[in-house]
């Protein structure tokens, strides 16, 4: 799917209403994207309130400059990219995340080593599921992010490249490598 097609999928009527200052449109656009943004954001910091603050700022900023926004917005893509930038900037300022070139992709699951030991030799789906989880845990932050954007947000490689500020080829390579690593576990 090309970027143009993804843009075409957005609701122009809603977007126009938003730009003209409709509160209902504001609420609806926020509602459409909130869960997705939160799911994405929470991967960078476990602080729910911090992520909610960032999302609020994001939408309020969007509202403040609604009149100068373009005719069409690939809203989801724009929001994901902006949120990523914001979390990084705010996070560094507030010391919520480490001062790094890239935001942290935090993991919220700890799998006990001994559990893994117990699972060796088991060939049930449950055991495979655990192993997969373990493997997901071991993926690099970028790999986890790319998997999230690909499978959860179903973005095109082109859009992912834009969001993560890397080349399209790098996205394709990263996805391919990640799926290969995961399938070795099943």
């Amino acid at each position: 799917m090309s970027l143009a097609n993804e843009i075409a999928g957005e609701d122009h009527g809603l977007w126009d209403a938003f730009r003209k200052g409709s509160e209902e449109a504001f609420a609806e656009i926020t509602r459409l994207h909130y869960r997705s943004l939160f799911s994405y954001g929470i991967k960078f910091s476990r602080d729910r309130e911090f992520i909610k603050d960032c999302i609020q700022d994001l939408f309020l900023e969007l509202w403040a400059k609604r009149e100068s926004l373009g005719d069409t917005g690939f809203i989801k893509f724009y929001l994901l990219k902006s949120l990523r930038r914001k979390i990084h900037r705010e996070g560094s300022r507030r010391n919520r995340i480490q001062e790094e070139a890239e935001p942290d992709w935090e993991s919220d699951m700890a799998v006990d080593e001994s559990i893994e030991q117990k699972l060796i030799g088991l060939e049930t789906d449950e055991a495979r599921w655990q192993q997969l989880n373990r493997q997901l845990e071991l993926l690099s932050k970028r790999q986890q992010e790319v998997i999230y954007l690909k499978f959860f947000e179903t973005l095109s490689n082109e859009a992912i490249a834009e969001v993560m500020s890397i080349s399209r080829q790098a996205v394709a390579n990263l996805i391919y490598r990640t799926i290969r690593e995961l399938r070795e576990r099943i």
């Binding site: 009527g13 449109a25 504001f26 499978f151 799926i179």
Partner: protein, 368 residues
């Protein structure tokens, strides 16, 4: 489905239709894929693996945030927008297909007060009762009626936000000067109550009074219902029958019922009885989803039950000594609370019962 011939795991996981089947299962999709598998047995293993891979990815990356939590954020943002442009004349909504701002009220309310039986008929006597209870409604009382098709947001003097649904009415006595915080509701509203321990916030509905210190919740009052319900999603409120409320000062806890997360209280109008039960569909309390681990492997059931207790903030009563010897291996992230309890009980051959808003687990020792 011809394009799938020759597909391997990598191709399946990247296919939009395949992803949609795993993520949003439906009978029709199941049939289509089962047929395909039957016709192409050599690919069955790849399909199975691809499915497993996606399932684990979806389970892992799912963020737990409730609809109410999102709606709360949205109403907060809308309030902020309004504050920045208070003088500006609001343009008419121009987007016709927009859904009701508070459609979530129907979904899972934080607190639901349902009822107001015969509201029109009893309106006058009810108002008199309220007058005596609240030391009189002074002249400064404002009445907000929402006769529009959309929700209306009201900011009270004490900082509490109320969003009034269509066809609803809220009467607000003046709150300035450290007076009482009370409002009278007919219909539906969402409340985000500003915390003030010294001044409890009271909501009067037809036959019930709900007392809050500070939390966010929703009240829905429906006319002509046979019962009045207060349902708590998060936090803690006290619910009183109006006739009992007067005696609160003398014997504080005798007549009110404390309702906490995932509990509801029903006033059955016919026999005027308050009954406390578990909510119909208890949900993980916002911010508590971390208590449920992504997978349990040989974990003592007592520990699993404790995790559920924290996540749902619901009392789960069991014999700890008895059940600590029962190991459980299960993934408990995606089911309802009742399904989770069924899975657990099946695994350890126990039974559960919901009694007075608590969950009772009856099991036997597993160590014999």
């Amino acid at each position: 489905m011809d394009k799938y011939r020759g597909y391997v795991v990598e191709d399946f996981v990247l296919d939009a239709d395949f992803q949609s089947w795993v993520r949003h299962p439906a009978a029709e999709k199941d049939r289509r894929w089962e047929n395909y598998k039957a016709g192409n047995p050599e690919q069955a293993e790849d399909i199975r693996r691809a499915r497993l891979l996606l399932e684990s990815v979806y389970a892992r990356f799912e963020a737990h945030i409730s609809d109410e939590e999102i709606e709360e954020e949205i109403s907060e943002m809308v309030m902020k927008i309004r504050q920045t442009q208070q003088e500006a004349i609001r343009p008419e909504p121009v987007y016709p297909g927009v859904k009701p701002f508070f459609r979530w009220l129907a979904a899972a309310s934080v607190i639901t007060v349902a009822a107001l039986l015969g509201w029109l008929f009893f309106r006058k006597p009810a108002a008199e009762t309220e007058q005596t209870l609240s030391a009189g409604i002074r002249e400064e009382t404002t009445t907000r009626q929402n006769r529009t098709g959309a929700n209306e947001t009201i900011l009270l003097d004490d900082g509490t936000t109320v969003v009034l649904a269509p066809d609803s009415e809220l009467r607000i006595p003046a709150m300035s000067g450290g007076g009482k915080r009370e409002v009278y509701l007919t219909g539906e509203a969402f409340f985000k109550v500003k915390r003030d321990v010294n001044r409890p916030f009271l909501v009067y509905s037809e036959k019930l009074i709900t007392r809050v210190l500070g939390t966010s919740f929703t009240i829905r009052s429906i006319k002509n219902a046979a019962e009045e319900v207060v349902e708590v999603k998060e936090g803690k409120v006290s619910v009183f029958k109006k006739e009992d409320f007067g005696s609160v000062g003398t014997n504080r806890e005798s007549h009110g019922l404390l309702v906490t997360s995932n509990q509801k209280v029903t006033l059955e109008i016919r026999d005027n009885r308050l009954v406390k039960t578990l909510s119909d569909a208890p949900e993980v309390v916002p911010g508590k989803s971390g208590f449920i681990r992504s997978g349990y492997v040989n974990t003592p059931v007592s520990q699993v039950l404790k995790d559920l207790r924290e996540a749902y903030q619901v009392d789960i009563v069991f014999d700890e000594e008895l059940l600590s010897g029962c190991p459980l291996t299960a993934v408990l992230t995606n089911q309802s609370l009742k399904e989770k309890l069924e899975i657990i009980c099946e695994a350890i051959e126990a039974k559960y019962e919901i009694l007075d808003g608590q969950v009772m687990i009856y099991g036997k020792s597993c160590s014999e």
